[in-house]
């Protein structure tokens, strides 16, 4: 599967998806004007990926700032991971937040609650 890369900008996160190397990363600020448009290729990438996933999928999500429309799009992407067959594959969302970032902690807890995907909430110092 083709690698997907989107460099970090002032209002969008760095996104790096490489199935062969096992890199699944969303990191940075997510405040785009049109989150639906920004996350559409990412959503499409995962939609294809879940049909034939790698043995291990660990999605590393670390958001510094986020707007509500991005919350919705990221949630939709995480939802896709529910389609990965858990008996033969490892799938995990590592939801990272900075110590004291009560908002991202809460978002992680909500997502963990709403989704069937294994979730690990990691506090960074």
């Amino acid at each position: 599967m083709e690698e997907y890369r989107s460099e970090k900008t002032e209002d969008t996160p760095e996104i790096h998806l490489n199935a062969e190397k096992g890199i699944f990363k969303i990191h940075g600020k997510s405040l785009p004007e049109d989150a639906a448009e920004f996350y559409y290729p990412v959503y499409e990438w995962f939609r294809n990926y879940v049909d034939d996933p790698a043995q291990e999928t660990i999605l590393d999500v670390h958001m510094e700032y986020i707007n509500s429309s991005s919350v919705k799009r990221v949630f939709a992407i995480l939802c896709l991971l529910e389609e990965i067959e858990p008996y033969h594959n490892t799938v995990l969302v590592k939801w990272k937040y900075e110590k004291g970032d009560d908002l991202m902690k809460e978002k992680g807890e909500e997502f963990d609650d709403y989704l069937e995907v294994p979730f690990e909430i990691v506090e960074l110092n």
Binding site: S68, S69, S70, V71, K72, A76, Y114
Partner: protein, 365 residues
């Protein structure tokens, strides 16, 4: 009822754009301010933008040079915060600063500023060159290089006034006017007394930041950077949490996405203030009259929900994956505003004309 946000918007009605910042200045403040101005004034000539950038930096330096230190001004700086203001009215720029100054500097500074007003452009240039020749130390008529340069670049001596705070300190307000070269634009729209009045109102309300003007997406990013860089300053007292920043982003983007747009301009106002440890984040923008009732109904409905109901609605909105909704997340954002548990959410709608109303939203955290 007229909201404070609308009152402030009306007070600054003639401003094409306005940025007023009260409080302490971060090291990167000048750079970010220049960036804000470069985006706001993108339609202006490069020479004008460069001149304004230079003056922003000089104003900032002027505060550093002359202001009483925080240790000296301890106890009076809360009521007399520093201010930096950049306003554009009919294409003319007005830069205003306010800072506490030791009263033993007032006499000399008054003489300097008065003398600057008496020099012609050529004389100012000669004084400037003379000052440079004398290793920057010669003070012609008492004027330091910074003030001479301000007068030279703005083609006009700074306006100023001093207001006594106590027997040791005064507040020093200074204002520069910049009329773009080769234009027939007229200045004189902002008197120093008016600036003092605005300063008084803002400091009384604990205002930290006012931004009025266009809220297109590219305009709000540098503003967000300015806020982000200065969150540490806001944090000097109570905590300005990430949740507060989330609400702040929502308010800014709500103006940008849902504000009435005319000629590619989404006019609005954004205010952050702090009182007794509580931060209030306010936004104001025009909306079509037909949008008033649905929005008011939605806000009232959300205001009556308890946390469990809000969470249920939030979950439902999260699972609504309709990508066609370009303004995506709008409903989610409103629910989240209530769900994050702010101390209060206030909103008002004021009819402006047959077509438009002014919508103000204030969240206290």
């Amino acid at each position: 009822m007229t909201s404070n946000t609308l009152k402030l918007f009306n007070l600054l009605e003639s401003d094409d754009s306005c940025l007023l910042y009260m409080g302490e200045f971060d090291d990167h403040f000048t750079d970010i301010l220049i960036e804000v101005n470069d985006v706001t004034a993108a339609q202006d000539k490069k020479s004008t933008r460069k001149k304004v950038s230079f003056l922003i930096a000089e104003c900032f330096q002027n505060i550093i040079r002359h202001a009483a230190s925080n240790e000296e001004a301890d106890g009076i700086q809360v009521e007399n915060p520093k201010m930096f203001g950049l306003r554009t009215i009919n294409g003319v720029y007005y830069l205003t600063t306010s800072n506490i100054i030791n009263r033993n500097k007032v006499g000399k500074l008054t003489d300097t500023l008065k003398s600057l007003a008496e020099y012609s452009e050529e004389e100012l240039k000669a004084i400037y060159i003379n000052s440079l020749d004398n290793n920057l130390h010669n003070e012609a008529g008492g004027a330091g290089l910074g003030l001479i340069e301000m007068a030279r670049k703005s083609k006009k001596a700074p306006e100023f006034l001093f207001r006594e705070i106590n027997d040791q300190y005064s507040n020093f307000l200074m204002q520069l006017e910049v009329i773009p070269r080769n234009s027939d634009l007229k200045g004189g729209k902002v008197s120093i007394e008016w600036s003092e009045d605005i300063y008084g109102q803002l400091s009384e309300n604990g205002t930290l930041l006012v931004r009025k003007g266009d809220f297109s997406h590219d305009q709000i990013l540098p503003l967000f950077k300015l806020i982000e860089a200065n969150v540490a300053q806001f944090n000097a007292g109570p905590k300005f949490s990430k949740k507060s920043i989330y609400l702040l982003i929502e308010i800014l983007q709500n103006i940008s996405k849902h504000g009435y747009c005319e000629n590619d301009r989404t006019e609005g106002i954004f205010v952050i203030s702090e009182k007794d440890g509580d931060f209030t984040i306010s936004g104001g923008n025009f909306i079509l009259n037909e949008e008033v009732d649905p929005l008011r109904d939605r806000l009232e409905e959300l205001g009556q929900m308890n946390l469990a109901t809000l969470k249920r609605n939030y979950k439902r909105a999260l699972f609504d994956f309709d990508r066609r909704n370009k303004k995506g997340g709008a409903s989610l954002g409103l629910i989240d505003m209530f769900k994050t548990g702010p101390k209060s959410i206030d909103y008002t709608f004021n009819t402006v004309n047959n077509n438009l109303s002014f919508f103000s939203l204030s969240i206290t955290v």
